[in-house]
Amino acid sequence: MSGILVVAEQRRGELRPVSLELASAAQGLRRPGEQVAVAILGHAPQAFVERLSVAGVDEIVTVQVAQAEFDPDTFESALGALIAARTPEVILVAHSVDSFGFAAALATRLGLGFATDVFSAERIDGGIVATRGGYGQKVNVEVDFPGRSMVLLAIRGNAFKPPERAAAPRVTAFDAPPLQSRAAAREFIELSAGDDLDMAAAEFILTIGRGIGEQAKVPQFRELADAMGATLGCSRPIADAGWLPKSRQIGQSGKTASACKLYIAMGVSGAIQHLAGMKHVSTIVAVNSDAKASIFGVAKYGIVGDIIEIADELRRHF
């Protein structure tokens, strides 16, 4: 067993940025002289070669498959064959909506050591040790893989910086075995915004979470946001409950606060999916009654207290 195999991700012809982060994650695990190969699956995988030609990648493996877009059966069959042919010691995939659909099945079928949502991985005494969060991210958990000669790790997005330098890895093609998938993708659907709001352009966002307690409190925060000149956002539970439109949801499956410079989170506990949409913001202020809420781990300023009282008092200043 030798080498590191990175599985890149693409959607609708676009390489997903996390693919390059995986190439960086591979560097910390490679032994001297060990090769890093990146596999890319699709109708025309050659199209991604240029984007994947970054420092630290020795080889790009193009795998042409019948399905243009992600499909669990296709990925498991093609990657299963590739892993059997190459026997890499470590396989890295993104911890993503797509890998949720195939990684556990692949690891199960091939008997690979397996861990998900990994944000750090290293070699200790020759073995792989992966670190992930546990108990709602309140603790870190180190995981190892006794008796497993190959290990599959699903790596958390934004945990590694993508390589900056370009390189010229060799390109090879891998023939995936033919396969009749048991699922058929029909079409993509873009959720309509619900209102004319460009969350990605907002510089100042006030976000409310489950901590507001009841729908009747929403107008108070809407009014506070207006008075302060902030755009009102929310965490997933608020949008799922229909208290605010989905277009205002910040996080992995919602919007990213791309242009935001000041982010005030009130009653948001800080689930990892929410943090994915906002933790890059330079000034985050968290207001939460739970002093142990994980939002305080990414915030610059924190207020531990009753968010309704703070909101009432804050309103007097604007």
């Binding site: 546990g134 603790v139 180190e142 048991r182 029909r186 799922d240 410079k261 000041l262 202020v285």
Partner: protein
């Protein structure tokens, strides 16, 4: 038609929790147990299909865990599950999500449902792998992060939408029997009525041993797992600078931060 719904009794940590003596878990004295939030949605989805169907649909909740998981199973019975199964054996202790999936798959093998639902992930360990690993043991088609579903009893396939990133969805047709992992927000889970809670308290929970699931001790626990917890520790996180004082002082300082920002942003 039958729908099997896999549920997990999850753990939240009490304030000031402590690491267990062996350093590999949290001291169970600090555990606060509840039904996994995602599983509330998958159970509701199954019950909705049952209520909309013209032919009988049986909803069976299944959990792998010790006796205290009965509390979550009773919640499922109160919300509309017809039966509840709990599988446990001391050998299951120390299982990772893959070993748990092997047990769930064994139950699905015997129960032979048209669909097996699991939550996308659990709120405590967030593995996002149990349901899909169960599909691999069964050899069934599978899909993750399902945010809407159309399925008719007895049909050979189901149509669902998968929630991708940034508000994008993908519609997919899948052959049954299949395993689907269900996303938050797919429906609005009901509250159980007092009457149904009382009725659920009187319903039996079928307790299965490993032998009932036709499994051996070596199939579960560390031997049946693909990973092992080596160490658990409290991270030394960068913490926010806390704004102290009474509410008025805290709000005043927050207002200052906002004004400073607006001054530079203008």
């Amino acid at each position: 038609m039958k729908i099997l719904v896999a549920v997990k009794q999850v753990v939240a940590l009490d304030e000031d929790f402590k690491i267990r003596g062996d350093g590999r878990d949290i001291d169970a004295d600090f555990f606060i147990r509840d039904l996994n939030e995602w599983d509330d949605f998958s159970l509701e989805e199954a019950v909705k299909i049952k209520e909309a169907a013209a032919t009988p649909v049986e909803v069976v909740a299944v959990s792998v865990g010790p006796a205290d998981a009965d509390e979550s199973l009773r919640k499922c019975l109160a919300k509309g599950a017809d039966r509840a199964i709990r599988v446990w054996d001391a050998a299951i202790e120390g299982s990772d999500s893959i070993a748990i999936a092997r047990v769930l798959a064994a139950v699905a093998q015997r129960e032979a449902p048209q669909l097996l639902f699991a939550g996308v992930q659990s709120s405590d360990q967030s593995f996002a792998s149990t349901g899909i690993a169960a599909a691999a043991f069964l050899g069934w088609p599978h899909a993750a992060v399902v945010s809407s579903l159309t399925c008719s009893p007895g049909a050979e396939s189901a149509v669902f939408r998968r929630e991708l990133e940034g508000g994008l969805l993908q519609e997919v047709d899948i052959q049954c029997p299949a395993v689907l992992t269900i996303q938050l927000g797919i429906n609005t889970p009901r509250y159980a009525s007092l009457r149904s809670i009382k009725q659920a308290a009187a319903k039996p929970i079928e307790v299965w041993s490993l032998a009932d699931a036709e499994l051996r001790a070596a199939d579960v626990g560390e031997a049946g797992s693909l990973s092992r917890v080596r160490r658990m520790y409290i991270p030394d996180k960068g913490r926010a600078q806390l704004i102290d004082g009474d509410v008025a002082q805290q709000a005043r300082r927050l207002a200052e931060i906002i004004r400073e920002f607006k001054g530079t942003a203008a």
